[in-house]
């Protein structure tokens, strides 16, 4: 069932049109330059459907989320995933997996940043608040900068 469900899963892709996006895109006016949402667990950065050149960002969630990498659904790897799921403890779910050091459960602290770049072009982007020891730093989420730098005018 997991193989079938996750085969074409695009839940974690930034540009996926989920129900929250579709509803907000419809109910919010097309003149809004940047439509920002949050608290829906899956972060997003994409152009709006109702109006080209307008953008939608969702900062996702700061609580832990479960993600099963597709590579872990193979016959060789999945028994370990199943064992951890059946164990039922957060400690087991958080332990690093082979090739996936973040484990099955991890935290993605994301914020939305909208600011002018060095040429004065206003851009939106998602930033990871990534742990560095006891401190944190901001990292741009790849592919989240909108409008993309290459298409800037």
């Amino acid at each position: 069932m997991l193989l079938e469900t996750l085969a074409n899963d695009r839940s974690f892709e930034l540009t996926t049109k989920d129900e929250v996006f579709e509803e907000l895109d419809e109910v919010c006016g097309p003149d809004i330059e940047y439509l920002i949402a949050g608290h829906t667990h899956l972060r997003r950065a994409r152009e709006r459907v109702v109006q080209r050149g307008k953008y939608y960002f969702n900062s996702g969630t700061w609580i832990r989320i479960l993600r099963i990498p597709k590579a872990m659904l193979s016959e060789e790897q999945f028994p370990e995933v199943e064992r951890r799921l059946r164990d039922g403890s957060m400690e087991e779910l958080e332990k690093p997996l082979p090739d996936f050091p973040e484990g099955l459960v991890h935290t993605l602290r994301t914020v939305v940043c909208i600011e002018p770049d060095g040429r004065g072009v206003v851009r939106g982007m998602l930033l990871n608040i990534a742990a560095v020891g006891a401190s944190w730093r901001r990292e741009v989420v790849p592919g989240s900068t909108l409008p993309p730098a290459a298409s800037a005018t």
Binding site: M1, E4, T5, V27, C28, G29, P30, D31, I32, G38, H39, T61, W62, I63, L85, R86, V111, C113, M125, L127, I129, V132, A134, S135, W136, R137, R138, E139, V140
Partner: protein, 279 residues
Amino acid sequence: MSSELHDIKTVSLRIVRDGPTHNHLLSPLTAYLAMVGPYEAVSIRMPYEHRRLMRDLSALRYRAGTSRGPDPSLVSISERRIIADDIGGIFAAVPGLTSEMAPESACDGSLTHLCLVFSAAELSLLPFELATSPRGFPGEGSPLSIQSNAPVVMTRSIPGALGKNCRWDREPRVLFIAAQPPGFERVPIKAHLLALTKALGPWIGSSPRLPGSRTRTRRALLDKYLTVLPDASLQKIEEACRRTPFLTCTSWHTAHCWMRGASRSSPWHCTVPAATRSW
């Protein structure tokens, strides 16, 4: 984008209300208990009637020039400012929060994570992210979420579910009960069935025939998880519960009920046909 190091300071504001999570409307008459860290809990009230907030939220969606939705002019710029100030006032009413959010209590360059925890579902309607920074908060008088004195990230959550034992690997069983006694309007059975079928998609698959089970149609698979009583009576419900492979009613994970009917003497009782009693 700079990548300088920062500390993160987490401040949790817990707002709780007596009673169940759902089925409450916002009202200035409702008292909530607000708690921050080790500080004394305080009683607060929300400055909104439910209907007024819904109107304001609709207008704040800026649907100017579209055929649907209210005109944003229903909420003027000054009114938007009032909404933001009202929300900021909720924060200001919690002395412990002011202490925790004070700029001087944060290290230079730190990021403050303001974690809002609600036990009352109706509070999720309030646009806390719109709040004007109240006195004692960083960037006083500016929008709290985007003031640049000391960055604040607001998140929302519900009280933790520690101690709940939720089994993830049980197959669902849904009992859909519907009844439309004579004299009452029809119930939207088809729409609810479609929604339930969609929710059961992970178990029944999205294609009519599933690989490896050519003889079993999707309908047959659906029957395994969903039992429908479109013309329910108490007797039929009882028989359906008895027919399940399990002996107790708790074998149903969900009973999805849709019924029309109410007696004037007991308006909260749904009635089903051929029933000797109501429930």
